[in-house]
């Protein structure tokens, strides 16, 4: 199944400026599997999303469609064909 990933503007220089990436995953793949695929192709992008132990960074939100995965099954959330995944900086800072 094909999954698209929307890359925030702050990280696009790591993927040649592309706002959207596409990944071909097996049916039933999870957000973690998607991020593993991101790591294989774009390691500098993936480590901005997850720390070295594989946890989503605290101030990074990952949405599947319009649902924050933290309100679903976290990075274990199962993806559906043609899902669009968005990487979003949390509204935090000072």
């Amino acid at each position: 199944m094909e999954i698209s990933v929307r890359v925030p503007a702050a990280l696009r220089q790591m993927v040649g400026g592309r706002p959207v990436l596409a990944f071909d995953l097996v049916d039933g793949a999870t957000v973690d599997a998607l991020l593993d695929a991101v790591a294989a192709d774009h390691p500098a992008l993936e480590r901005r999303i997850r720390d070295e132990q594989g946890a989503l960074r605290h101030h990074v939100n990952v949405f599947v469609g319009d649902e924050d995965v933290r309100s679903l099954d976290g990075s274990g959330t199962v993806l559906q064909p043609d899902d669009e995944v968005s990487i979003v900086a949390a509204i935090s800072g000072g």
Binding site: A10, D51, Q53, R57, S92, G93
Partner: protein, 364 residues
């Protein structure tokens, strides 16, 4: 052409101050690494050309070490994580607090001190770092506690005559020494009073050491700014004794050793553990020229009324020149400099974001 470069790491990015006229005037550039907290930089002049390293953290996107091969005009990010805990540690790097180049006899070795407190070593000039497992596996580690800035390893000193002799300092864990290049470590805090802890006044470890600097003339002589005391060691850190108090104000964060003059060091005392600004609204750098037996107030060019400034542990540095250039940045965004060993000072920059780190050097 040579220039004096001052890297000013702030809470919102990295600024540079450059002088090409013998430190009479400086031009401010930046910020680079916009929006990131820059706690550590390193100006590595061991190679044919100067290499810069910067350890920063984005609130959103995490920590990173970058390097620059063009004097800070551009920064290179490796594809793979430069500093990262290995699998099995169940830890992740929160901040990079220190980047220290080893001696000229180890031209590709760089150490990184991080939060949570751990030491990493690079053997390729800072491209990739590996965890120093001997310290990570130390049985004291679960009992270290974070200071106000976090559980950080903020000081790495490599002995100039023996690269296997390492000193690190942790807030709040204290001083640890290794004689075998980091394979094994021992706490070494004898003499340092931890008044903030119940129980024994001088525990084996747990002291909140804020910074340690090595004397330029005697490599066994060290100066230490503790949470609430100032100390000296004459035996390479094996034991510590109080230095003369600075008018009873012995709290502070940084300590800087003069780069060419033995027995000479600098402190920036702050008022107490609660206020943490310079006392009485007077900004004063204190200098000893007799290894801490006495101290002189340096005030020429520094604000002496209504100035309530804080200088953090890595925000005070020297450029290594003679006479020494000295530079400190404040949490209120000022950078002051002296080109005459601290006798007089000038304001180089103001209205910057809070200054977290300062490093300086003359570079080709």
């Amino acid at each position: 052409m040579t220039e004096t470069l001052v890297l000013v790491g702030t809470a919102k990015g990295l600024f540079s101050l450059r002088s090409t006229d013998g430190r009479r005037g400086f031009e401010l550039e930046g910020p680079a690494l916009v929006g990131e907290e820059v706690y550590a930089t390193c100006i590595d002049g061991r190679g044919a050309s100067t290499r810069l390293l910067a350890g920063s953290v984005s609130m959103h996107w995490g920590p990173i070490v970058r390097r620059s091969e063009d004097g800070g005009r551009s920064w290179i990010e490796e594809d793979e994580a430069t500093v990262a805990f290995p699998p099995g540690t169940e830890a992740s790097v929160a901040r990079i607090w220190q980047l220290t180049a080893a001696g000229a006899d180890q031209p590709d070795v760089v150490y990184a001190g991080v939060e949570p407190a751990a030491l990493f070593r690079s053997d390729d000039g800072g491209r990739r770092f590996s965890l120093v497992e001997g310290l990570w596996d130390h049985p004291h580690r679960p009992q270290w506690n974070p200071g106000g800035g976090g559980l950080c390893l903020h000081t790495v000193l490599v002995h100039p005559g023996d690269p296997d002799r390492l000193l690190v300092a942790i807030s709040a864990g204290g001083v640890y020494l290794s004689d075998d290049g980091g394979g094994s470590w021992r706490a070494s805090n004898a003499g340092i009073v931890a008044a903030f802890l119940p129980g024994a006044p001088i525990p084996e470890f747990g002291q909140c050491v804020h910074k340690v600097a090595r004397d330029v003339g005697d490599p066994e002589r060290l100066y230490l700014q503790h949470h609430d005391g100032i100390y000296r060691s004459d035996d390479g850190g094996a034991s510590w004794a109080p230095m003369a108090s600075i008018a009873g104000v012995d709290f502070g964060f940084p300590v800087v050793a003069h780069p060419t003059r033995p027995d000479t060091a600098y402190l920036f005392p702050l008022q107490g553990a609660e206020y943490r600004c310079n006392p009485d609204g007077r900004c004063v750098v204190w200098r000893t020229s007799d290894a801490g037996a006495s101290w002189s107030a340096l005030t020429d060019g520094l604000p002496q009324a209504d100035a309530h400034l804080t200088v953090l542990r890595d925000a005070f540095s020297t450029d290594g020149d003679d006479p020494a250039g000295l530079y400190f940045g404040t949490r209120s965004g000022e950078v002051y400099a002296s080109a005459d060993d601290g006798d007089s000072w000038q304001l180089l920059a103001a209205h910057l974001p809070p200054v977290l780190s300062v490093r300086a050097a003359r570079i080709a």
